[in-house]
Subunit: 362 residues, 2 copies
């Protein structure tokens, strides 16, 4: 072979491989990102959903795109997670949007507001009811892009040192409850308190606070509230189906190769269904253990639920008058919710109703 022939042949070969190979290599660049969780590593459920998302992304990219998860406080604290994403300190976060109502109350809606959607309805609104687009239109104003990534299902209504039989019994109760739910509770006479997870137990024990809400049986058990505030109320009417999201710095999201965007979307959806399944699988045994340990299960009275519903709707009217963003998301969610319950009350609810009664009879 003459040298020129060789060069030409090599050139052809290079051109051919340039067509076949770099297409994959270019679309799968090596990337290292950091994810700041809004939750401590001790919560294998909530923190776990963000970690699971990162694991799926790594697995689906042959470890080309690695996202390292950090617990709340390791890089920034829970309440700084979204700012850290906006300003590029970290590329992404996994957290609950309602932690950021201090920036704007509208942040609560894609996660949970009192008397909002249940978990399945939240998925329906997000994926097929326009919720995700509306939420991202709002998040874009804060330099963020979000994907659903987890839900707890309806939470419990929290732990109380004394029984709460009437709305009057709530007056002056110092309760660890935050955000929009805290504002509704305040309308009922509660004195809302903001405390980090680790500070709740000693405050309840000393009587500095009278009550605390956290999540549900599996997570609550870890904090030991049953020993100091045994009345365990339900339902958590302020968290019918709280949804967590993975938040991306919007510019960094936009700059991702399309392949990685597609992988992130399925990884987040997988983490979303997986997290709910984990809660549903682990809560029953935790509930049994809590009752054995002395938890006194109590439903909130119909009178209290009605008063809270009325107070919530008053607050929503006030917020709608003040904020176009709130109004837009809230009205979409509310209309969707009313349609959802029209349907859920028929087949879904009557099925569960029968199954619950059949189980109770043994």
């Amino acid at each position: 072979m003459k040298r020129r022939q060789f060069l030409t042949a090599a050139g052809v070969g290079a051109a051919a491989s340039a067509v076949a190979m770099p297409a994959v290599a270019q679309s799968m660049p090596e990337m290292r990102w950091r994810l700041s969780s809004g939750f401590p590593k001790s919560l294998d459920t909530l923190y776990g959903a963000g970690e699971t998302f990162a694991k799926y992304v790594a697995e689906m990219t042959d470890n080309k795109f690695q996202i390292q998860a950090f617990g709340a406080g390791e890089i920034v604290g829970t309440f700084q997670a979204l700012d850290a994403v906006s300003n590029g300190t970290v590329e992404c976060a996994h957290t609950a949007s309602y932690y950021y109502v201090g920036k704007d109350p509208t942040f609560a809606i894609p996660c949970a507001i009192p008397f909002g959607l249940n978990a399945r309805q939240m998925n329906a609104w997000m994926y097929h009811g326009g919720g995700m687009d509306l939420a991202n239109e709002f998040y874009a104003k804060h330099g963020l892009f979000a994907l659903p990534a987890g839900n707890t299902g309806t939470q419990m209504g929290g732990w109380f040192r004394k029984e709460i039989k009437t709305v009057d019994d709530l007056k002056g109760v110092k309760m660890r409850i935050a955000g929009i739910a805290g504002q509704v509770m305040a309308k009922l006479g509660v004195v809302p308190q903001q405390l980090a997870g680790g500070d709740i137990y000693p405050a309840l024990e000393r009587g500095t606070i009278d009550s605390a809400e956290w999540v549900g049986p599996y997570d609550d058990e870890k904090l030991g509230f049953v020993k100091v505030a045994p009345y365990y109320y339900y339902p958590g009417w302020w968290e019918g189906g709280p949804m967590f999201h993975v938040y991306f710095n919007q510019q960094k999201w936009n700059d991702l190769p399309k392949l990685y965007k597609d992988i992130c979307m399925s990884a987040a959806a997988h983490a979303n269904v997986d997290a709910q399944a984990k809660y549903d699988a682990r809560n029953p045994a935790a509930l049994r253990r809590l009752v054995s340990a002395g938890a006194q299960l109590r439903p909130f009275s119909p009178e209290l639920m009605e008063a809270a519903y009325k107070a919530a709707n008053e607050l929503y009217d006030e917020l709608s008058a003040k904020s176009a963003d709130w109004k837009k998301l809230y009205e979409s969610m509310r209309a969707f919710r009313n349609e959802e319950y029209l349907w859920f009350q028929v087949a879904e609810y009557t099925y569960d109703n029968f199954m619950i009664r059949a189980r109770a009879r043994g």
Copy 2:
């Protein structure tokens, strides 16, 4: 540059790219598979979930792994889909396992049996309650491997030409209902009929059959039953949360690169949550339209539900005595269900109960 130097340099370059590039190329081979759906293309919900799975896989592999979806009857019919996967006619299928009870009644359990799990509980059992492993241990005997990929939520109880007020009213009713549900109905006096989707309407119109069950508002509306059998009963106690799966030929699944297995798992989970969300988003408006078109909504009476529950449990005892596979899956599902409803009756159910009543008051 001398020729030998050039050759050496080229060789080094080739070796270097052999390290960097083929790792991706080898783990992402070009593959073309076929998926046979158990559902006709006219059902954008059920057929759509299989197609969505295939779309996610293609997107996440830069179109290297392409799975083409075919409607029921295009390659093989609904009831041949799993055999076609086992024998390698197609590599995979998306269908409802309970269509294959003719092969073995155990096939029903990972999809739905009367008075089984609701949709969220089904996810919990599959992903975190041991259900998926147990199901795949059984499917392996048929050369299959399955991943959850869709759910309808609790279905409706079907359309009847006449009102069914008592168990006696069911005697002699010719109802289009198949599988385990048909066997339970037979114990109540129903004469179960097997008819393909397209044959149901004319049979109801002529009075050859008296009743037919299909899915729920969104899918049922398409078949026009409201015109010929207006009594629309609920809940479909034989389908509390029917789950669909993607079925893979077991050998072909085993031979997939790990990267493609990981991608299939998240694609299926994404299709799973997406399909339920689509149903939940579309059913309410369809229900409204059906009621406007004359559908008479009726709950099955408590007496009928109790009789069906008793008949189902009798059948399950018979099947457990006959089949070790049935017994193993059924007992896992039943134990899981009883724990799930212990928990669901507390926060989840009381929340929905309040929201349904609040909505009804306006």
